[in-house]
């Protein structure tokens, strides 16, 4: 069995995804379906996980729960294997591995394979916690050298769902733009999960969504890190973000921390997005320059 992986997001892919998905789907789901469609003629079967929760008391967004069904709708007749957790066994446990993938492998090999995958997952996340971006971490995992990072430069926080932050097509190259202006960019993946959890204690009531927790926790940590400002990228029509966005906005206002909230949309209004980011960076730079004088 050979895994086939889709390439980077592009205009054609997005258009294909938008065309096949239901109206209510958010932009990232449309992108996901676009990726599936580009693979349609290159693979025999799709493997899609059903993510419900990864922690005991919080949930991944419901769109993820429906991802296998939406994929089925999009790819048509092609067979679909769903990787899902069963009662009393987590997604990563050997019992959860779908039967279609188990064929021809002993229980021992399956267990070993899972352990290897988990180890790679942890190594990858350790690299992200050193401030690397996913593409850079992949390079390092493949044997490349880690990129040099300036330690004492100006820093900006970038928060949002990982699929918005790390897809340069979706966010119109926001990360590159910030780097070009000489900012080091810190994202939620920079912080160890335990630190993020500690930050959530101040909430009167726990947040329902795992991703919202990570965004809010990372936001608080970024404030403590004394970054110059924070950019919040959210996807158009994202339900959980309507709430998290408001929480973050209020907190930023109370702290007097510059915050730019950008909503990503399929209409790719690049000019508008770039104008806002440029104006935000000017604001940070002028603030620094004139308050030093």
């Amino acid at each position: 069995m050979t895994p086939v992986i889709s390439g980077p997001t592009g205009k054609e892919l997005l258009n294909a995804g938008v065309k096949t998905s239901v109206d209510e789907a958010c932009l990232p789901v449309k992108v996901f379906l676009g990726h599936c469609l580009t693979l349609r003629n290159r693979c025999d079967c799709f493997l899609v996980p059903r993510l419900v929760n990864i922690n005991r008391k919080d949930y991944i967004c419901p769109k993820f729960m429906g991802l296998p069904e939406m994929t089925k709708q999009a790819v048509g007749k092609q067979p679909l294997v769903i990787w899902k957790s069963e009662k009393n066994c987590a997604l990563g446990s050997p019992q959860a591995v779908p039967a279609a993938l188990r064929q021809g492998f002993s229980a021992r090999r399956i267990k070993k394979g899972l352990q290897k995958a988990e180890a790679a997952f942890h190594t990858y996340h350790r690299l992200l916690q050193q401030g690397l971006f996913p593409a850079e971490a992949e390079q390092v995992l493949g044997g490349g050298a880690p990129p040099a990072r300036e330690k004492n430069g100006r820093r900006i926080g970038l928060i949002g769902h990982p699929y918005c932050l790390y897809d340069p097509f979706l966010n119109l190259g926001t990360v590159n733009l910030l780097h070009r202006y000489g900012f080091a960019v810190l994202t939620p993946e920079y912080f160890p999960p335990r630190q993020i959890e500690d930050e959530l204690q101040i909430l009167a009531k726990p947040l329902f969504w795992t991703m919202s927790q990570r965004i809010f926790g990372a936001f608080r940590l970024l404030c403590k890190e004394k970054v110059d400002g924070i950019v919040y990228l959210s996807a158009f029509a994202c339900g959980p973000e309507a709430l998290t966005g408001e929480l973050v906005k209020r907190e930023a206002k109370a702290l007097g921390l510059p915050l730019l909230h950008l909503v990503l949309d399929e209409h790719s209004g690049e000019a508008g997005l770039v104008t806002r980011i440029e104006a935000f960076i000017d604001l940070l730079q002028r603030k620094r320059r004139f308050s030093c004088v």
């Binding site: 440029e278 104006a279 603030k287």
Partner: protein, 324 residues
């Protein structure tokens, strides 16, 4: 102080403005033209208007802003290409150093800039919807058979403005027709429209922002006395309109060109002859990768001058070789 002038150009969707500024910030000439969908021709026209007077004067720096800033920046050889928000904010601070809130309403977009201790600290901008902008007023004035210039004065005559739904310009239009059929007077409807625009602006662009005096109101729509009064009624304090309310963006980028003069030294300005050049812009879809970027290429007298629109930077590199 060095002899010469700074030029500021603001190329918006509706109007194109050019200011000639003396070192220090005084405006010696301003030109306000309609863009009419052709930014290049309107900029050439604007330069033609100032050329006779200033052709012999040394240009110390050029700043451009507005949605067409990249295009016009390439054509004029601008030293500073800035976004509209920064430019508007800088001009507002020059006009009133103590200003704390800037309301700006232009043709297609509107903004709010919050200022503390002489530095912008926050801003807001309208999203894709143009319901709270000048084009909304333009449309409604047209429907009422009024020129946009009369609009404000008529609104001021109203004693009892009617309430018009302002959330969306489509709703506003049907609501307005309904009020007309009910027999409300023209001035009450016009004043109602002004109030609707202001409500829309405050609920969208300025949502969640604290508006503290002194408040400055600028942009093309600031000419409309009806809107100014509606703002004052809604906010409960005085709203000031600066002298150069319609060319604040152009002035702001001229000021920025002056501020950053030390960084670029000699101006890259291509000279007033740019009004006579044949400038062609062509667009094509680059098919080298699945991104399918829409690339724009500018040619002056058939020489390629600049290109942009690509995500990978390939066409921008060619641009640097051609000019540098």
């Amino acid at each position: 102080m060095e002899d010469g002038v700074y030029l500021g150009v603001d190329v918006g969707s509706v109007s194109t403005n050019l200011v000639v500024m003396e070192p220090g910030g005084r405006i010696s000439k301003k030109v306000y033209l309609r863009t009419e969908g052709n930014p290049i021709a309107s900029v050439q026209k604007a330069f033609r208007e100032v050329a006779p007077e200033f052709a012999g004067v040394k240009v110390l720096g050029v700043g451009v802003t507005g949605s067409g800033r990249q295009l016009i920046g390439a054509i004029t050889g601008a030293d500073v290409i800035k976004n509209e928000i920064t430019a508007q904010g800088v001009a507002a601070l020059q006009a009133y150093p103590e200003v704390r809130t800037v309301l700006e309403i232009g043709g297609q977009d509107s903004k709010i800039i919050l200022i503390e201790n002489g530095v912008a600290v926050d801003f807001g901008m309208n999203t894709v919807c143009a319901a709270g902008t000048g084009s909304f007023l333009d449309q409604q004035a047209h429907r009422l058979n009024l020129s946009i210039a009369e609009f404000g004065q008529i609104a001021l005559r109203s004693k009892n403005p009617v309430r018009i739904a302002g959330r969306c310009s489509v709703f506003a239009e049907s609501d307005m027709i309904h009020k007309q059929q009910m027999g409300h007077s023209l001035e009450d409807i016009v004043a109602g429209l002004c109030a609707a625009l202001v409500r829309n602006y405050l609920n969208n662009v300025a949502k969640g922002k604290e508006i503290r005096p002194p408040v400055l109101f600028q942009g093309g729509v600031a000419a409309n006395a009806g809107i100014k009064r509606a703002f004052e009624q809604e906010l409960g304090h005085q709203v000031m309109v600066p002298e150069y309310y319609d060319t604040m963006g152009a002035w702001g980028c001229a000021l920025l060109a002056q501020e950053e003069r030390a960084a670029y030294g000699k101006s890259r300005f291509r000279g007033f002859q740019l009004t006579e050049e044949e400038i062609r812009v062509s667009g094509f879809e680059c098919v080298d990768c699945p991104n399918r970027c829409e690339v724009v290429e500018v040619k002056i007298d058939q020489r390629p001058l600049a290109g942009w629109g690509d995500r990978c930077g390939k066409w921008q590199r060619i641009n640097a070789e051609a000019t540098g």
